[in-house]
Symmetry: C2
Amino acid sequence: KAITVALVNNKGGVGKTTTAVSLSTELARGGRKVLLVDLDGQGSASRSLGLDREDLYPGVAEAMLEGLSVRKAIKPSYIPKLDILAGSMNLVSTDVFLADVEKREFVLRKAIEPAVSDYDYIFLDCPTSFGLLTVNALTSADYSILPVTPDYLGFEGLVNLMDAVEKTKDGIGEAAELLGILITMADYRVRVTREIGDMIRERFGRMVFNTEIRTNVRLREAPSYGKSIFDYDIRSHGAEAYSRLAKEVVNRIRQD
Amino acid sequence: KAITVALVNNKGGVGKTTTAVSLSTELARGGRKVLLVDLDGQGSASRSLGLDREDLYPGVAEAMLEGLSVRKAIKPSYIPKLDILAGSMNLVSTDVFLADVEKREFVLRKAIEPAVSDYDYIFLDCPTSFGLLTVNALTSADYSILPVTPDYLGFEGLVNLMDAVEKTKDGIGEAAELLGILITMADYRVRVTREIGDMIRERFGRMVFNTEIRTNVRLREAPSYGKSIFDYDIRSHGAEAYSRLAKEVVNRIRQD
Ligand SMILES: Nc1ncnc2c1ncn2[C@@H]1O[C@H](COP(=O)(O)OP(=O)(O)OP(=O)(O)O)[C@@H](O)[C@H]1O
Ligand SMILES: Nc1ncnc2c1ncn2[C@@H]1O[C@H](COP(=O)(O)OP(=O)(O)OP(=O)(O)O)[C@@H](O)[C@H]1O
Ligand SMILES: [Mg+2]
Ligand SMILES: [Mg+2]
């Protein structure tokens, strides 16, 4: 049965998609069978791996909201052993659709259930909100990873986010375990980076991954070519950092 | 009666908050009375201008969802002539709360109505989603500004976004006019920036602001000090670009 990991943060542009795509591809490159589920209306994860606009349909919205069998919605990516359940604008009204549905927090888990035994890992790229899609991801996942940028709003947002995840756990009775907090887009030319990076490590200790992802132009370029960072520029700092992170993620899961 | 402008894009981290905060403060510095409405659960706009966590309550969520009089929720900022209607985590379940409410798309407009005559400009900083909060912002605003980053996902996202805004207009019968598309976080070390910037200008022509905002470390630092870019570093490229943009925004509104 697959291990499911959700990338969660209701602050935007912090590297959720980049991390979901990079970890999925690195584990698939290592020979594991991986499914990447794109829960974002913009379909960033799907497009970052080269899916065309037409390829986004049917995707996770149709599996969750229209009862389409998930196996009919899953598509292969250009990377062997990595499949994608694509996101699309059909996701944007999920909260309104699910508001009155029974067990609305478990709709995703039920929809992807048939596919879980086909994979070693499943990564859920969450949208930048804390609505029902993110709650569904937390009840479907074994673990969560929280990407955060080392600046004031990033730090503040993290505190809010962890509160909200705790409340979800209490309210619903189950939710993903925190696998780790990932410092992303660290740019040491920015004045507060070191100070706030230290604050995050002091406050959250071992919950913070040793691996830190620095700002790297190649990571910003890769999605425009529909390639993972490993295929776009294997020698970049970005590729090297995400490769290290993949090892750390697997180790943390093993030790659990 | 105030002119209301919404910053909209369901792609995250594209500079919605930075633009809303910078335009609000520049127009207030110029002597106009301005209200900044923070519709984001992370409260980024409010925190960027120095509001403490306790200052976020009551805010726009209480005015929209609990019927609190908006005048009781509006707070002064550290900048004379600029007031803030703060965002908070109480916004995150708005879609579920409003799903069955009559005229759910006009709840914000009704809530801020009493304050509209007190201001010259109102800026609405939207969350990174296309749910009911963003729809409410579009029915409350006279104009929208769409920040977009000059990369492949940014461009693709813009096409999706404009479709969604059009559909909202058709569905509800009214929505903000597009004031302009703003190219933000342009970094000419990134390979695709020039190519995609040109694509955006070719495709959308005069809809694109002449002013472009380049990547600027100072813009990333300023929120951590609770200051606008003009108070944090008036000589920075970021401050100069946003000052030019403010003039262009006012001119476009006058010509309308
Ligand atoms: N031109 C710029 N140059 C460098 N950094 C920038 C620039 N504009 C914004 N930033 C920084 O980038 C990050 C994202 O910007 P911002 O928060 O304004 O985007 P947003 O679209 O509001 O994000 P969200 O999805 O969280 O709402 C912030 O840390 C901000 O300080
Ligand atoms: N370490 C990095 N260095 C430089 N650019 C990065 C890095 N990580 C991500 N990016 C770029 O920053 C932008 C935002 O990253 P990404 O889309 O992964 O964030 P997100 O949290 O998924 O955003 P959203 O709020 O839209 O879901 C993208 O253009 C991406 O290519
Ligand atoms: Mg994303
Ligand atoms: Mg924002």
